[in-house]
């Protein structure tokens, strides 16, 4: 019950983490908190409730002044890890 309520509130306020993968060129991640690590083959993003790791090559980031990030490049894998720290 306790776990579900914050999740419900998050859902109502549209604060969920959304990961949208388009082909193997683009990944859109919404509601990011911060960028933990970044280079042209690896990207680690920390969101409200999880950590998203992207492996690939030629990775480039576009952000448009919102809390979302668009990652472009050759995407090899997208890993979603539970966040240890909320």
């Amino acid at each position: 019950m306790r776990k579900k309520l914050p999740e419900k509130i998050q859902s109502l306020l549209y604060l969920n983490t959304i990961v949208q993968i388009t082909d193997k060129d683009e990944v859109l991640i919404e509601n990011c908190k911060r960028l933990a690590e970044y280079n042209d083959i690896f990207l680690k993003i920390i969101t409200n409730n999880m950590t998203v790791q992207i492996w690939g090559s030629g990775l480039k980031i576009n952000n448009y002044g919102t809390s979302s990030i668009i990652v472009k490049g050759v995407i090899d894998s997208v890993e979603i890890l539970k966040s240890k720290n909320r």
């Binding site: 990011c32 042209d40 448009y64 002044g65």
Partner: protein, 389 residues
């Protein structure tokens, strides 16, 4: 698109707190695209209006920030920001285009047949419609009414403009045709005192016979006569009456005569720009008596005349000169006058005899020439008859 027009700046950032800088860049709402991170260098592209804010963030986190490329039309324009001639020239060109588009360059008149175009154009100029007039300030409705009032032969006038070309459409009044009786009764009367040599009657009644002497105004062929049944006939008399008559004319030639002598022609040129005239050349022409002839040669642009050109003026000065003739010269001039008179007036007649009475005076010579002429003496004279109403 507007943001792209503002310009895009590619930067490079280096430093220890690079990730902090990247996160703060993202959370501050600055749009940053094409981000790359290789080693300890971070590249990205931002809009030019976000440069100051980004540099402040970099400074805050001790990040070495460098602009490596500037893209966009605005940066190309900035290079010419001190070229004042460009905007001034552009403004002048636009002003000229606006001016030429809103002033009258040509005036065309259509629909006139008997009323001269120059008369219509002159009337329009009196109302302020001429080359160079500002079109928005013209009241076409008022001018149309004034044009119809000013020129009585017009029944309708319409003024419109297509760009800077003013077109005046007019319709002329159709005049009532002259109504007259085709054949009103008329007599043939004597135009001179003469003796009738021959008479050919085509219509009417001959009142005189060949050989009769007639005075000026006497009826020779009558248009009103009574037929054998006592009916009164009214017709238009018609016939050829040839008579012999005398005519005396006095010709004189003074020994001293004032004449207007033409001098050497002087040519001048003016440059006409719309309705302004700028003299080309130096000096003005002055003479108390002269004739001036002007022709305008407009500049052409693909076959269409432009509102400026060269006016060619030819001045012919005249001087009053007193000519003195010797008696022989005066005589020659007198004889020339007599000959001209005979050519002009007696070409279709026969001069039976000619006598010349010479008279000489201190200041002139006079010839009194008496002619005996055989020619047409008939003249149609209408008879006005009351119809009794």
């Amino acid at each position: 698109m507007l943001a792209k027009a503002a310009g895009i700046i590619k930067f490079r950032a280096r430093g220890i707190k690079l990730y902090t800088f990247m996160n703060e860049l993202r959370s501050s709402g600055i749009t940053c695209t094409s981000q790359e991170c290789s080693g300890d260098e971070y590249y990205g592209e931002i809009y030019s209006f976000a440069l100051n804010e980004t540099q402040a963030l970099a400074k805050k986190h001790n990040i070495e920030f460098a602009v490596i490329q500037k893209k966009g039309f605005i940066f190309k324009l900035i290079r010419y920001r001190f070229r004042f001639g460009l905007p001034i020239g552009l403004a002048l060109a636009l002003a000229f285009i606006f001016y030429v588009s809103n002033i009258v360059v040509t005036v065309e008149v259509t629909g006139n047949e008997t009323v001269p175009t120059s008369q219509i154009i002159q009337t329009l100029e009196d109302m302020g419609i001429s080359k160079g007039a500002f079109i928005p300030s013209l009241d076409f409705g008022y001018c149309e009414r004034q044009l119809k009032i000013g020129i009585k032969q017009l029944s309708w006038a319409g003024i419109r403009h297509t760009g800077n070309r003013l077109v005046v459409d007019v319709t002329e009044i159709v005049e009532k045709p002259e109504m007259f009786i085709l054949s009103p009764p008329a007599n043939v009367i004597a135009a001179k005192d003469a003796q009738i040599k021959s008479a050919t009657v085509y219509r009417g009644s001959l009142e005189r016979i060949v050989g009769d002497g007639v005075k000026k105004g006497d009826v020779i062929i009558s248009g009103i006569y009574t037929d054998h049944k006592e009916n009164i006939i009214k017709t238009r008399a018609y016939g050829d009456i040839v008579g012999i008559y005398d005519e005396a004319i006095t010709f004189e030639q003074p020994f001293s005569q004032n004449e207007r002598i033409a001098g050497k022609e002087v040519r001048r040129r003016d440059f006409e720009f719309f309705s302004f005239r700028i003299p080309l050349g130096f000096g003005t022409f002055k003479a108390p008596d002269y004739d001036c002839e002007e022709t305008l040669r407009s500049f052409m642009f693909f076959g269409r005349p432009l509102p400026f050109g060269i006016i060619h003026k030819t001045y012919t000065p005249y001087t009053a000169q007193t000519l003195n003739f010797t008696p022989e010269e005066a005589l020659a001039r007198l004889e020339r006058k007599i000959k001209l008179h005979e050519i002009n007036f007696y070409e279709n007649k026969t001069v039976l005899s000619k006598t010349i009475d010479k008279r000489e005076f201190p200041d002139r010579i006079e010839y009194e020439v008496s002619y005996r002429i055989e020619g047409d003496i008939g003249q149609v004279s209408e008879v006005f008859i009351s119809d009794g109403k």
